[in-house]
Point group: C2
Chain length 332, copies 2
DNA sequence: CCGCCGGGTGAAAGCGCTTACAGACATGCG
DNA sequence: CGCATGTCTGTAAGCGCTTTCACCCGGCGG
């Protein structure tokens, strides 16, 4: 990777400008000259240095993606959708996970210096830093957070599906519910889900904090909940991983799902379909979320659009076995 | 992001060389000068352009990761382990998925121009291109492929664990087995698993091709297999996703697992533990695979080591419910 | 009092490319 | 035949940084 445009030019007997023009198709080049250049390029196996190109062009042709973790399938799926489109658009994707990182600010700033724009998940980045990035003119797209000025936001619908899910559970005839989720403080997806559910179930549902959205935390919180008196008849979980933890807890306690207690998740990750029993959840178009984010970012970078856009993608409940018995078996 | 080192120098009343020296701590700088420079940096909120630094330094401080897909949890996990260490070592990671891509060669070459080295999964990249990359002097680490000259390889153990798994199944008293996997042609992980299993079970096991390592392919192949006459008593799957497909197939056909047919997977992905029934599988240290790869690549790049190394990480069967009934319940 | 040494600094040469600008050379027209 | 008009090509100025080299200057030993 250390043959430069100068060597090509020398070998072809032309100037580096001509080589550049030939390769990029900018400006006129005589057919004979082009041929000579291409031949030299071929022989030397020349690939323009990305660094040189970027420096001269003043753009990176790369995007960043910032996420808290890749452990669950959610981020991986969105990332995948993103990468596919970004690559199509000729941009590389640089990833940055913030989990367990100290000095996230520095990492983000370094990243900002390597890309033309970035996708940031939810509230991964502290608000002041977000403001600074916006001020610096970094093109930003946020996935799954509430709209903010100066950047695109993209998320999937929560409230309506939460209502639909709650209504479905109510139809099963249950009367006491619990909502298992992480801190319900910030304006994030889970908060909206909680509010959607509560708007239907009202005082019949109580919120329980799990700390994090993981199987372990769900397991722990559910165990406590199910062991206690006044065990809820149905547990609505903030996401699938917490729900899987709840399922495990019920199993260990010898409780039948959905006979003794119903459980629902959110996201429809791979494991949901295969769980014991199959998990009723809400499907998020994760890959499309990523794909749309990539296109949005591209618009921002190329300047096709300069006013922030805020979109919400539709979601839908996926009714499986964990929420209760259904007359005719539904299979997904 | 457009304040340059020149502006800082002007504001601090020094030359750009001094600014650079101050910031990088290379060369002597008088305390008073340093202070002036730092003050100017602070006021202008200066961050050195990554492009400029890289061009001058002749290195990218970035690594690439090439994988076929991020759909399953396997790649995501390895990637996560990789990113964590790479970031610790001050390197960004650029991802490239080859799934459904045409002109993979160009993509890889472009990537090669953006990084100091890369991690490539298995046989994602066509062999001639691998050779070219090696020839070009790109630092390479391959994960889960057989050793090749000129690059590091890192994989997890297959044969011994496959034998152990097969022995365990034999202990259950089964006599007819099937191996469900993708084309057993290349020298890859699955091939080793197959040979390990067969070395124990001999003629009692037959291989069935699934085409791809996906739930759908596993489902399809297993359905055919289980519907046919001479249904095997146990199905050893090439990986967890195929196994999940097999589990689904058995369920649909009204067959009890492990009562009517036993099923095992490989990888111990998240869904394995939660499957109906919990899936017996082999645990691969996915995250560690990634972490080790990152360190190996770093050694290659920094020049600490220049001879390729080839390592194999240990794996172990995880016995759960899908392989048969066990006297005392094992829970993981 | 002289010469040396070394800390501190700046000028300038890259790093590999793109592109504005200008020059060279044909060609076509009046 | 002269000139305008193109077409093609080369020169050189960046892009933002690192680093070598040379230089200046004060302090020290001789």
């Amino acid at each position: 990777m250390d043959v430069t445009i100068y060597e090509v030019a020398r070998r072809a007997g032309v100037s580096i400008a001509t080589v550049s023009r030939t390769l990029r198709g900018t400006g006129p080049v005589a057919a004979k000259t082009r041929e000579k250049v291409l031949k030299a390029v071929e022989e030397l196996n020349f690939t323009p240095s990305r660094l040189g190109v970027s420096l001269a062009e003043g753009r990176h042709a790369a995007n960043g993606v910032v996420f808290p973790d890749l452990a669950g399938p959610y981020y991986a799926e969105v990332l995948l959708g993103y990468e596919e489109v970004a690559s199509e658009l000729g941009r590389s994707v640089i990833i940055l996970s913030t989990k367990g990182r100290t000095r996230v600010g520095d990492l983000i700033k370094d990243l900002a210096g390597r890309v033309d724009g970035m996708l940031i998940f939810g509230h991964t980045v502290p608000e002041p830093l977000v403001a600074e990035l916006v001020r610096l003119g970094v093109r930003l797209v946020f996935v799954s957070r509430d709209p903010l000025p100066g950047a695109d936001t993209l998320r999937s619908e929560n409230t309506a599906s939460a209502r639909a899910l709650a209504a479905h559970l109510a139809d099963h005839g249950y009367e006491r519910f619990a909502f298992l989720g992480a801190p319900l403080t910030s304006h994030d997806d889970v908060d909206e889900r909680w509010r959607g559910v509560r708007s239907v179930l009202g005082g019949a549902i109580e919120a329980v904090d799990t700390g994090h959205y993981t199987v372990e935390c769900g397991h722990e919180a559910a165990t406590k909940l199910l062991k206690g008196r006044d065990r809820p008849r149905a547990i609505v979980c903030s996401d699938d991983e917490v729900a899987l933890g709840a399922l495990l807890a019920a199993e260990e306690l010898g409780l039948d799902v959905p006979g003794d207690v119903a459980v629902t998740g959110w996201d429809d990750i791979m494991a949901a379909r295969h769980a014991r029993p199959a998990l009723t959840t809400v499907r998020q178009p994760m890959r499309e979320l990523g794909a749309r984010a990539a296109r949005a970012l591209d618009e921002l970078i190329t300047g096709v659009r300069d006013t922030p856009s805020h979109h919400t993608l539709a979601t839908a409940p996926v009714i499986r076995a964990s929420c209760g018995h259904h007359p005719q078996e539904v299979r997904t």
